[in-house]
């Protein structure tokens, strides 16, 4: 069966799109489920008691929150959105958003399975935490962080969200669970469109742009880093499995570029960038993209030019 060229390309586009979607949607679902549970079972007061008061400490705490909530880059977005509504400071939310897809037990396991104990394994987490905390701290310098979020994620000044649970008598457990599911369902519909549009863009790029041309670009210490960062962004593969994928590049690409792939890819790709648009103002998403991109690039270049593995 041979279809005309365009029909062939459309069929291939569909296969890749559904591949990305089917792999990512369960993670988004897990994230929305967690988000619904957080909304119903964690009050704003409890949240504020746990978060350190000093911004720097709060940012660092955010960076390591992924150890408690093991989510990847799709699941982390609904959860962060919900935590913002519960009063999480923007800087720790940003650190959580960027770090959680790397600093999390599932990613430890998959990276260990792919690389074993070694410099790539260790550096992935050191660099990931470093870049996420750096970005979080940059955001904490902003005097008016509330303007970064879309209005619906601001903590209500009076009435609303958390307080309602604290003052009203606590409903039975079954009802609270049902309500958390209902909130999760609404959240899923709020976010899945970003995932779908992002997966379609990624699939379209993969169908139209020859990967071999991209891979041929990069063996130098500088071009290899940029190439694998672009590739990580376009491929939009889930952070829990990207370590296996990067093995394919180990022999042809520099160690710095592999690390850039493993650190920048989980933080940002086409679908997660679109998901960020459901939380932050557009201008903020641009910074969220640029700061980790440049920070990862600089560290990777430094490794390529100064470290000999």
């Amino acid at each position: 069966m041979t279809l005309p060229f365009l029909a062939e390309q459309f069929a291939n586009f569909t296969t890749v799109f559904l591949g990305i979607f089917i792999e990512a949607a369960p993670f988004l679902l897990m994230g929305t489920l967690a988000s619904g549970l957080v909304e119903v079972f964690i009050s704003r007061d409890q949240m504020l008691r746990v978060i350190p008061r000093r911004r720097i400490m709060a940012t660092i705490a955010g960076g390591f929150l992924g150890l408690v909530f093991p989510v990847c880059e799709c699941g982390v977005v609904p959860l962060t959105r919900r935590l913002f509504r519960k009063g999480l400071p923007v800087s720790s939310g940003v650190a959580f958003l960027l770090a959680a897809p790397i600093i999390n037990p599932i990613v430890f396991a998959s990276t260990f399975a792919a690389y074993g104990w070694g410099p790539i394994f260790v550096m992935r987490f050191v660099m990931g935490a470093g870049v996420a905390l750096f970005t979080g701290l940059v955001f904490s310098a902003n005097p008016d962080p509330s303007r970064m979020l879309l209005p619906q994620h601001l903590v209500p000044v009076s009435g609303g969200s958390g307080e309602a649970i604290d003052t009203a008598p606590v409903p039975p457990l079954g009802e609270r669970l049902t309500r958390s599911l209902r909130i999760g369902a609404d959240e899923f519909f709020d976010m899945v469109r970003y995932l779908i549009v992002g997966s379609m863009l990624a699939a379209a790029l993969q169908t139209a742009v020859p990967q071999s041309a991209l891979l041929a670009l990069g063996s130098g210490p500088v071009t290899s880093v940029i190439t694998l960062q672009v590739l990580a962004f376009i491929l939009s593969v889930c952070s829990t499995v990207d370590a296996f994928l990067s093995l394919a590049f180990v022999n042809t690409f520099t160690p710095g570029s592999i690390l850039a792939f493993l650190v920048f890819g989980p933080m940002l790709d086409i679908k997660s960038t679109l998901l960020f648009l459901s939380v932050f103002e557009r201008r903020v998403v641009a910074y969220l993209l640029l700061i980790p991109l440049l920070a990862t690039m600089l560290v990777a270049l430094f490794i390529n030019l100064n470290v000999n593995w």
């Binding site: 069966m1 069929a11 569909t14 089917i22 679902l29 999760g184 020859p210 394919a248």
Partner: protein, 256 residues
């Protein structure tokens, strides 16, 4: 276009159920593996369970004492898709959520094949740090698939390295400008997580029947490796003794 929230809720529940059926059908029919690797099939199971849980919340709440009321603050002054029982919500998010369903139904499920090779690239080499020539050589030559052979070639890149070894492999027919009229490639896609990372690999075959084989058809090739060339570069080439058309295997991809 806006919909009353109550109607939108029914559509939401319906879409969640349809997505669950969509995933479950792929899981049961095995076409799930056209999209993601078998070691991630648990993801689809998790997806189906959560989708059903989320869908069930719509029905249950309607009978609850609390009705549709939820703990959201009712900030009606901006466009927001959380339904509030009485408001109106946009149909756009609902429409977008049906795109995977629509494409999944309209476009027949199909794994990547020869037509995808041109943009994804094809390689006659494949290595991973776990590869050693020893680990490949433990597989008997008759048992080796296309990936095993390609690994063997990467482990020992001498064009004469495989001389005289007999092979029996299955893959799709692929050719591009580098191939002579009496050559083609028996190719496979390898995949680690999902088709987004699929890479094509293949073994070059020499056969007088090569020109009659249609691109993308699945073939089984038996023969013996000899040193040969592809587009001028020397490499092991499979001299075909017999080529037969076969059905596409249940697992069209290979998993390194």
């Amino acid at each position: 276009m806006m919909l009353p929230a109550r109607i939108a809720d029914r559509f939401k529940a319906l879409i969640l159920i349809l997505l669950a059926i969509f995933l479950a059908e792929k899981l049961v029919s095995g076409t799930l593996y056209y999209y993601i690797g078998p070691r991630f099939s648990w993801l689809a199971v998790v997806g189906v369970v959560i989708l059903i849980l989320l869908a069930s919340s719509f029905n249950l709440l309607r009978h609850g004492p609390d009705g549709q009321h939820n703990s959201h603050d009712h900030d009606h002054d901006h466009e927001h898709n959380h339904s509030h029982g009485d408001g109106r919500v946009s149909v756009v998010p609902l429409f977008i959520a049906t795109i995977p369903l629509a494409l999944g139904v309209i476009v027949p499920a199909r794994p990547l094949g020869a037509s995808a090779v041109d943009t994804r690239g094809v390689s006659t080499g494949f290595t991973s740090p776990a590869d050693t020539s020893a680990s490949i050589l433990t597989i008997a030559p008759a048992e080796r698939n296309v990936l095993d052979w390609v690994r063997a070639m990467s482990a020992n890149p001498e064009p004469t390295a495989l001389d005289g070894q007999s092979a029996d492999v299955v893959g799709f027919v692929y050719r591009d400008a580098r191939f002579d009229d009496d050559q083609f490639m028996v190719g496979r896609f390898t995949m680690t997580c999902c088709v987004a990372d699929a890479l094509a690999i293949g073994v070059v075959v020499h056969s007088t029947e090569a020109s009659v084989l249609e691109a993308d058809s699945w073939v089984r090739v038996t023969g013996t490796f000899q040193a040969g060339t592809l587009g001028g570069s020397p490499m092991p080439v499979l001299e075909a003794a017999e080529i037969s058309l076969v059905m596409q295997p249940e697992q069209p991809y290979l998993f390194p």
